[in-house]
């Protein structure tokens, strides 16, 4: 299990390759990558604030729950903070399981919890001004399925 909270970009290709290489006995690897959308060209930047003391602890708790619940072979979570431009990768998760259903479910679980329970806040900077991204009710509701 590896959790990384960082300002620097990460290498999606190298991370995916290394993760899949270290999952002996696992038949299924799922990755999710979140990318800053350009909002039809209106977005100048995305600023991601986080609660430095709490972030890694919160993500570790979420990842440990996923590992246990789905008997995963491995979990990877990388999440950036700071100022990102449209098209940059914000974060990724990877899960390894024996069968595809578990790998998919665990990745969706990680994403649902990272979305609403890891202490990050996104601010969109546009030519017209800046605004905090509001949490969506459907993201909170998504937790109910777990």
């Amino acid at each position: 299990m590896r959790i990384a909270v960082q300002e620097d970009p990460f290498d999606l290709g190298a991370e995916s390759e290394a993760f899949a290489r270290n999952c002996a006995g696992m038949g299924a690897v799922v990755t999710f990558t979140g990318i800053v959308r350009d909002l039809d060209g209106a977005l100048t930047a995305m600023e991601i604030e986080h609660y430095a003391g709490m972030t890694e602890r919160a993500i570790t708790g979420i990842a440990e729950k996923a590992m246990a619940r789905w008997g995963l072979g491995d979990v990877l979570v990388i999440h950036r903070h700071g100022r990102l431009k449209p098209g940059e990768r914000i974060m990724m998760v990877a899960t390894a399981a024996r069968h595809r259903k578990d790998a998919f479910e665990a990745a969706e679980y990680l994403m649902d919890y990272l979305k609403s329970r890891a202490p990050f806040w996104k601010k969109e900077i546009t030519a017209r001004g800046a605004g905090w991204v509001a949490a969506r009710e459907e993201d909170e509701a998504a937790l109910n399925r777990w």
Binding site: G34, Y51, A58, H79, M91, P119, F120, K122, W132, E140
Partner: protein
């Protein structure tokens, strides 16, 4: 003495990222009332507690959680990670 931290628009409304607070408040809710009474910027930040989340010593908790033994309190809007 409590370390009180503010994030995102809570931080922006109050104008500082963290401060030390001398308080006898027994719960988070009582602390919020004390802070609201201080100045307009606190009253504005805490106007709608349902729009806020709180962490005690870096664990998410409810507003009725007790403060006994707690060293760090953080207030912030619902999280938008991922």
């Amino acid at each position: 003495m409590l370390d009180v931290l503010y994030f995102a628009w809570v931080r922006e409304r109050i104008g500082i990222p963290r401060e030390q607070v001398e308080t006898q408040a027994a719960t988070v809710a009582e602390l919020v009332e004390e802070l609201k009474a201080r100045e307009e910027r606190y009253a504005a930040a805490f106007a709608d507690p349902s729009a806020l989340r709180v962490a005690l010593d870096q664990e998410l908790r409810d507003f009725d959680a007790p403060l006994a033994g707690v060293r760090e309190v953080a207030f912030f809007p619902p999280m938008t990670g991922g």
